[in-house]
């Protein structure tokens, strides 16, 4: 569905991605008292990146809990709680910290339903911030969503707009499966129109066509959605660019992407994760499987060049994928 069609007829409000996520959390906390937010400093402090804000004051400690700095422990507790009747939403302050909790993610959260022959629900949401651009260096800037998208039994979403940020957060919480919401921290201040309907959700597994075009398809995620839209506007008149926010990484909306590729014949995949063996490759593999004969040019990848995120600004800017990279990729194939 196109982004505009999605919003047509909806009452909306302009807000930032941060506010949109918080509104999504607030609505779900209100709707279902079994929704529990937990994480490091998410309570009284309001979150290091201020996403949970005043939810602690609004809902109290029973629903918004500060945890020890112990990712394995509280992610594991979220898994145990999800199997026994509550709906935890655990925050990983920086996705780089996921390594600490990986055991509970890969061997418990992802596998319990399957190993037990379907005899448990696992309604757990993990929110994790990703992305470079603020000089936070290698251990606080990673983009790791490929790990989770790759690992069977986990669902992964990564919003690029304020509307999707709210809609996917809510969809994740309502899902009976483990869903990771990857929030790029550089777009928390990005504004957009967000539906105010309390039951507005962005279905997991659906991409959003953010801008229609005829000549080239840019499949983007997170921060690169907005930057690609800017590039598309700048190229208008010369090149007609269609921009798709993948939104959901697993399951991936192959159909929307392939439909666009059939129309344009050219594609750029822009995602901040490291390029090799990754999210870009998966999207491209599916594109060639489904629409090989529609391809007019090699599909381009825009991502982090297989390095970690360095600290110093010129170094970080060197490796951080951006609109310029998207524009170069487009110009290479049109």
């Amino acid at each position: 569905m196109t982004a505009q069609a999605e919003l047509d007829g909806q009452e909306t409000e302009t807000m930032t991605v941060r506010e949109a996520i918080r509104q999504g959390l607030r609505e779900e906390l209100e709707r279902d008292e079994d929704v529990l937010i937990m994480g490091e400093d998410v309570g009284a402090f309001g979150g290091v990146l201020e996403v949970t804000g005043n939810l602690y004051e609004e809902f109290g400690e029973e629903q918004v809990r500060d945890t020890p700095i112990a990712e394995a422990g509280y992610v594991g507790a979220a898994v145990g709680a999800a199997a026994t009747g509550t709906r935890p939403v655990a925050e990983l302050m920086f996705s780089d910290f996921m390594g600490v909790s990986m055991e509970q993610i890969m061997n418990q959260m992802a596998k319990m339903r399957y190993m037990f022959g379907g005899k448990t629900e696992m309604p757990v949401t993990i929110r994790a911030t990703e992305g470079g651009g603020m000089g936070a260096a290698s251990q606080h800037s990673g983009t790791v969503h490929t790990w989770i998208s790759h690992f069977p039994g986990l669902k992964a979403v990564a919003p690029g707009t304020a509307a999707a940020a709210k809609g996917l957060t809510k969809a994740a919480i309502r899902s009976d499966d483990p869903v990771f919401v990857f929030e790029n921290k550089m777009i928390y201040e990005q504004k957009g129109e967000v539906p105010t309907d309390e039951d507005y959700i962005t279905p997991i597994g659906e991409a959003s066509v953010e801008r229609e075009g005829e000549d080239v398809t840019v499949v983007a995620t997170q921060r690169l959605v907005g930057e690609s839209l800017t590039v598309a506007d700048g190229l208008s008149g010369d090149v007609s660019v269609e921009v798709i926010d993948a939104q959901s990484l697993y399951p991936l909306d192959t159909e929307t992407i392939v439909e666009s590729l059939r129309k344009t014949g050219r594609m750029v995949v822009a995602d901040e994760s490291p390029v090799s063996y990754g999210t870009h490759a998966e999207i491209i593999a599916r594109a060639q499987e489904e629409a090989f004969f529609s391809l007019d040019a090699p599909i381009q990848r825009v991502g982090t060049p297989d390095t970690h995120m360095p600290f110093s600004t010129p170094l970080e800017q060197e490796v951080l994928p951006d609109g310029e990279g998207v524009q170069n990729a487009i110009e290479k194939i049109v």
Binding site: P68, A81, R113
Partner: protein
């Protein structure tokens, strides 16, 4: 369901029956594993029966347990059906997990069994989470994690106990110290002599009990449960016990002596409990023989059930990944349906 205690004569006989059932189940599981009929690994609970049964007798039927890779005993103590357990070990569709889990992953959330677990130390965070659900919904339950002496060295175990203690959650952590973490003796894995001493790190009570004495385990868990249910937070209990078989079936056991094994067998928990019941005139040798024969029949029936049960259809490999279907897996499932998966 753990609908027995140690308070009445009938319940004590039931507890003894469960101990015998565990031993018979695992004895036969060992045989069928050796014969190659049970695939994978099996980790037998033989020798540790008093711990599982003493613990579950002290819990309420609705309480949760998180188990370990050595979980058959916990399942039987908690009241799971040996037929469905054995069918799971044989990889059959009628098993608890429809053949997807096997020995190391038997689970039955409805019976409060949060799963055996192939990862050493992974159970305690799950129990903390279950205790969080209980506390959040103000339910009259507790969650107990079984963990081994080996698991006690795991970081996530510390995190789980610390969190449950900090939040005063209704949890109990029960260390089954069977003296060896796989093949390495406990002294080589821990600086503390008594693993219950680590309780001091969490400002919770820690006790060590004789894991070969079912009543000692029962009493400690009973007290732990009382504390948990009162909102006083978790308790750490160490039960000193011994596994008569290897870490896994077929393990050479070159790390211990026959003499050491015999010393523990001399204190066998089933023999001791049986002797006490006979001493108290609650059981006669003849009644014990009868009970043993009934248990053997129960397990023989379980094996027959497992033998006769159907293997899962290969197509079921594609089920149960999520609460709904995802196109990625559907694609493979459809291909398998049409051509047996050859074009995958």
């Amino acid at each position: 369901m753990t609908d027995y205690t140690l308070e009445t004569e009938d319940d004590r006989l039931e507890a003894l029956r469960r101990m015998l059932t565990i031993r018979e189940f695992d004895t036969k599981a060992g045989h069928y594993f050796a014969d190659g009929e049970i695939p994978g690994f099996v980790h037998l609970y033989i020798g540790e029966e008093a711990v599982g049964v003493g613990t579950c007798a002290a819990l309420d039927p609705d309480d949760y347990i998180a188990s370990t890779h050595r979980g058959h005993g916990h399942c039987i103590a908690k009241g799971l059906d040996p037929d469905l357990m054995m069918a799971e070990l044989f990889g059959k569709a009628d098993g608890y997990c429809n053949g997807k889990g096997g020995s190391m992953h038997i689970a039955d959330i409805d019976s409060g069994m949060l799963g055996a677990n192939g990862i050493v130390g992974a159970g305690p965070p799950l129990a903390t989470g279950a205790a969080l659900s209980i506390s959040h919904q103000d339910r009259d339950q507790v969650a107990l994690a079984f963990l081994g002496d080996g698991a006690t060295a795991q970081g996530q175990v510390h995190e789980a106990i610390n969190q449950a203690s900090t939040w005063d959650l209704p949890a109990i952590f029960l260390i089954e110290n069977n003296q060896y973490g796989e093949a390495t003796p406990v002294e080589k894995q821990h600086n503390v002599d008594q693993l219950s001493d680590t309780a001091q790190a969490y400002d919770i009570p820690g006790v060590t009990v004789d894991g070969m004495d079912i009543t000692a385990v029962y009493e400690a868990v009973q007290e732990g449960r009382k504390r948990a249910a009162n909102g006083d937070g978790p308790t750490l209990i160490e039960a000193e016990t011994y596994r008569y078989h290897g870490h896994y079936e077929g393990d050479e056991q070159n790390y211990r002596t026959d003499e050491e094994l015999q010393q523990w067998k001399d204190r066998d928990a089933i023999d001791a409990f049986k002797a006490r019941l006979i001493d108290r005139d609650e059981l006669s040798e003849a009644e014990f023989e009868e009970m043993q024969a009934e248990v053997e029949e129960t397990i023989a029936d379980a094996i027959e059930f497992a033998h006769d049960a159907e293997l899962p259809h290969p197509q079921e490999a594609y089920d149960d990944m999520f609460s709904d279907t995802v196109p990625e897996i559907e694609k493979f499932a459809n291909r398998a349906r049409t051509d047996g998966g050859d074009s995958r």
